[in-house]
Symmetry: C2
Subunit: 297 residues, 2 copies
């Protein structure tokens, strides 16, 4: 598998996720709620998490319908977290994915409700009661993985630490703990939800857990690097805002060069874990690890 | 079963729910998040939804462990919705369950995160992967019912209509649609989640659906009545705020006397549905319907 094949695969899968989200995020939800939800999740974003789900599912020859639902569910959780994170009481940001943020476009109340409804929708998508394509035990397993990565021990917990750390010095350990939760938990869950769609041994599960942990952290290290090295128009969101908000980042804690070396080391860790998994079809996961580290936006 | 037995049962079950929430809502969640979550859900509220879950589970001889988890999950969803609903961008309320609201106590950002984490926690509680007491198929079914009642088609959708209707005249049909979603969906889901913990026929399911629909609406009609007839200290929340916020209510649309007659008619509908269900142990559900209509706070 080479990079060109990967790009083709990624485009095809991104299109599949987009179509599924188009179908599942309801335009008809009342009083403009559906419009705000669709604005917040459709037609934007790199879709890193859905691609991780689908690449992991492919690595374990997992059920396609389940994996596609899991891919959309993690993206809905990610998108809702961005909507809430951008609100005035949190990061107060006005630009996201190259567009005005949801609360700028629709007002704060609608933005909060849209985020709330998107979290619920993620669990709806995972539990298609009328659909025999996803076994009930897998539905429950996917809900369990997603809820634990999104909640107090994962993403929401990490955001609480983030909030409390503004203007405070954090050492690398504390910074790692914050990002392990805030960004890492959902990225890792994406890998594991994809893996849950097929059969894996305990050793393979452990290897994929380590892969997910490494790329989860790498993603945040690279985010912190891009925040200081790229312009807003490249990122599609406000650049330099962590510095402006006086937030500790890998760049402020380690310095730019050490942060770059750290990202490369995490890539090596992720690739080694994939090799150790012995999964024969882990090619897309391997190329995704490269993509996470090499991206420029 | 008489009223005194009911009160004993309700107290015992409320205590069981409180103990379970004490165990499941994590004090140790980072950066004060757990403290805010516990403040928002422990030691307060009438626990109407958990009691509906547990009464319905008893009516169908359902699995106790599953029903207790479902009871806590619906209360977590209800409590998170109150936290978000009270925020300045929504109802901007400062008093809830006789205490300062969560954003007054902990700040807006923490309140939003606490609500977000509580929604995720509801689905964690429903999916105890290490626990053999709740079959996986039931875990999936409970997640499905809860997600659909909390999301765009249910509670969040109803809140969006509520938001859009401020200062606008609504006819009874539109008001009913709003409340059917905003309050009714989660109350009805409480009944159905309890019922899902046991075996019910399609006819019994339909009867319980109608019961849940009637008491869901009755609950809101009575809420609207109490909003104009009771003082804040009795309600534990700000009285008269719907009028102050220029929101349409059953009292403003129907008038106080007609609203009272409507609540009584809904009680009759609920009781008739229970009789039609033929369930031999529906006594607590019957007394809960009375309680919902007769309550004074």
């Amino acid at each position: 598998m080479n990079r060109a094949e990967f790009d083709l695969w990624a485009q095809r899968e991104t299109d599949a996720v987009e179509s599924a989200l188009q179908a599942w995020v309801p335009a008809a939800a009342p009083a403009g709620l559906g419009v705000a939800m669709r604005y917040g999740v459709l037609d934007g974003g790199k879709r890193v998490r859905p691609l991780l789900v689908l690449a992991a599912a492919q690595a374990v020859d997992g059920l396609r319908e389940a994996a596609l639902r899991a891919a959309c569910a993690v993206e809905l959780i990610h998108a809702y977290s961005l909507i809430h994170d951008d609100m005035p009481c949190m990061d107060n940001d006005v630009l996201r994915r190259g567009k005005p943020t949801v609360h700028v476009q629709f007002g704060e109340a609608q933005a909060m409700l849209a985020g709330d409804a998107m979290q619920a929708l993620a669990f709806e998508v995972l539990t298609p009661q009328q659909d025999a394509d996803v076994p009930a035990a897998l539905q429950a397993r996917l809900c369990s993985l997603l809820a634990r990565s999104a909640g107090h021990a994962g993403m929401a917990g990490g955001q609480a630490i983030d909030l409390a750390s503004i203007g405070k010095p954090l050492d690398e350990h504390a910074l790692r703990d914050m990002h392990h939760r805030k960004t890492g938990a959902l990225l890792q869950a994406s890998v594991l939800m994809g893996a849950a769609c097929g059969e894996v041994s305990a050793a393979q599960w452990a290897a994929l857990t380590e892969y997910g942990d490494a790329i989860g952290l790498a993603f945040q290290v690279v985010d912190d690097i891009l925040d200081v090295t790229q312009a807003s128009e490249t990122l599609g969101k406000t650049a330099g805002k962590d510095i402006d908000n006086n937030k500790p980042t890998y760049v402020t804690v380690l310095g730019l060069d050490a942060a770059r070396r750290h990202a490369q080391a995490l890539r090596v860790t992720a690739q080694a874990a994939l090799v150790r998994s012995g999964l024969p079809h882990a090619g897309w996961l391997s190329l995704l690890a490269d993509k996470v580290v090499d991206r420029d936006s």
